[in-house]
């Protein structure tokens, strides 16, 4: 359980967090989204008792992060942004060291189990320095999981992993999130969609929006976008597709593809596919166009942007 109330943090004269307030319950995976410098890492560092907030309070696993810091640290597993590994240590020894620091009675067994969870059993006797970035990321995750913490805080856990590993780690996080509280930060919206029960978007130290990923996307997008690739000229086809009921904003792109939108309530993709084929075109590809975090961001900060630009010019 994480409860954060009016959290602020100043670095010198720069205010990094402007009164953040949010909660995360047990059995919930909460995603923290935001661009670089939004305050994600700062918030996580405060929650793990790495540094104290300037004002406000944070309760993690039932303890205050400032006054009961050691109790918090016993109950939190943390994977920082730069994976903290002693590169000249053997994987097994490193995890054993972390297990010992947490006073686990059956440290060696626990290390074995955890290595299995992250799929690194075969590298247990290798030096950390010889591992690839993705493997190091997994060892970092193993370190955070070794004591089966009540609260797991992960700063960009899937960065640097190859696609199959990403899937594995996401499944692992979701599994853990069933019983524990997980707070993870990410740049990738699809990751938040797949893993998180709730998403908090922050920008410049403020919470911009807080919702489930589904609501967020539906609310922001309103319509789904689809890209079509066919053999041949698409200009005429764009007109034809545009006439189909339910299709919005059909247009041909400079790269020879065709794009259109439709409301989620009425899926027009079968009609469009049929129309394309009936018009004598070969349909090569039809795929949904996801909305990237950047686009969501532009969407969310739309009103601020023009004002900023004007200022910059004057």
């Amino acid at each position: 359980m994480i409860r954060v109330n009016e959290l602020t943090k100043d670095y010198g004269s720069r205010r990094a967090l402007h009164g953040l307030t949010f909660e995360a319950q047990q059995g919930e995976v909460v995603g923290f989204l935001g661009p670089n410098g939004a305050g994600k890492t700062t918030t996580m560092r405060i929650l793990t008792s790495y540094m104290p907030p300037t004002s406000g309070e944070a309760i993690v696993a039932g303890y205050d992060v400032v006054s009961e810091s050691l109790e918090v640290r016993k109950r939190v597993g943390y994977l920082p942004e730069t994976v903290p590994l002693y590169t000249d240590m053997v994987v097994f020894d490193y995890l054993k060291f972390m297990a010992d620091l947490r006073h686990l009675p059956d440290a060696e067994e626990r290390v074995g189990e955890t290595l299995e969870m992250v799929g690194m059993v075969d590298r247990a006797n290798g030096y950390i320095g010889s591992l690839s970035k993705g493997m190091r990321q997994r060892i970092g995750l193993a370190q955070a999981l070794i004591h089966r913490p009540e609260v797991l805080i992960l700063d960009e856990p899937t960065i640097g992993l190859d696609p199959s590993q990403v899937v594995e780690i996401r499944n692992l996080i979701r599994e853990i999130g069933k019983e524990r509280t997980v707070l993870l930060s990410t740049h990738i919206l699809s990751e938040a969609q797949q893993v998180c029960d709730r998403v908090i978007i922050i920008n410049k130290g403020n919470i911009v929006v807080e919702d489930t990923p589904e609501n967020l996307q539906a609310h922001l997008v309103g319509a789904e976008r689809v890209v079509l690739r066919v053999r041949g000229e698409v200009d005429d086809l764009a007109v034809k597709v545009g006439k189909i009921k339910g299709v919005q904003n059909a247009k041909s792109n400079p790269d020879g593809t065709l794009e259109f939108q439709f409301l989620p309530a009425q899926d027009v993709r079968p009609q469009v596919a049929r129309a394309v084929v009936e018009s004598g075109y070969d349909l090569l590809e039809m795929r949904p166009l996801g909305l990237s975090l950047e686009e969501i961001f532009l969407e969310l900060t739309k009103e601020e942007q023009p004002a900023k630009k004007k200022k910059a010019h004057s």
Binding site: Y11, R45, T48, S49, Y50, M51, P52, L70, R73, K74, V76, Y78, P80, T82, V83, P84, L85, Y86, T87, D88, M89, D93, F97, M98, D100, L101, R102, H103, Q143
Partner: protein
Amino acid sequence: MRNIWIIAKREYDHYFISPVAYVVAFSILLVLGIIFALVIYTSAQNVFYGSVPDISPVTGSFAFLLVLTTPALTMRLLADENRMGTMELMLTAPVRDSELVIGKWLGGVLFVLTVIGITLIFPIILNSLVSPGIDQGAMITSYLALILVAASFLAIGVGISALFTNQVAAFFVTMITLVTLWWLMGFPADYIQAGSEFFRYLDLQSHFYSLGQGKIILSDVIYFLSLIAVGLFTGTMAVETRRWR
């Protein structure tokens, strides 16, 4: 306590995979071996004049070598954690800042104790060569003084290492501090009348040799213990302020 031990053990083990530690141990043992051989040789020449060989040339040189080598042993301890980002790991693990610093220091102490342990062969050889044997009291206090010097140097080194992210910077600042304590503190006492007592008390070398005479002198022991306390306190403070940055 348990945390201190776990951290100390990791640091101790780490010394045995680091080339720096091997170079340090090897050069200390080599230089001391040569000095010891010279001691034996000259004693053999002087035996008719009734002088009894003693172990102080070995312990004295060892203490001097520690001035040069301790910075290499301590520069890594906390500076490297800062650099590699593992400080974030240690500071979010259930470990007090003081436990971290003391554990690092203890790891270094255990390593130097190992090297000191190897040099015990010298007094044992010397003892078997002369009859009725060497002054055991002086031998024991010389070694006690040596251990206290090593522990103080390491504490100062750990404290300075905590202030830096760069190992080289930590190395040189530690070296300058130790050189100052070992050599320079005694000088002003000879030239400046006012406060000469003060400088004389700070002079590390005089405490070291006064302990080595065969009697345990409380003020000397307290001097070294306060150096250790200052070093470890500096380290803990440096780690703590890192949180507020």
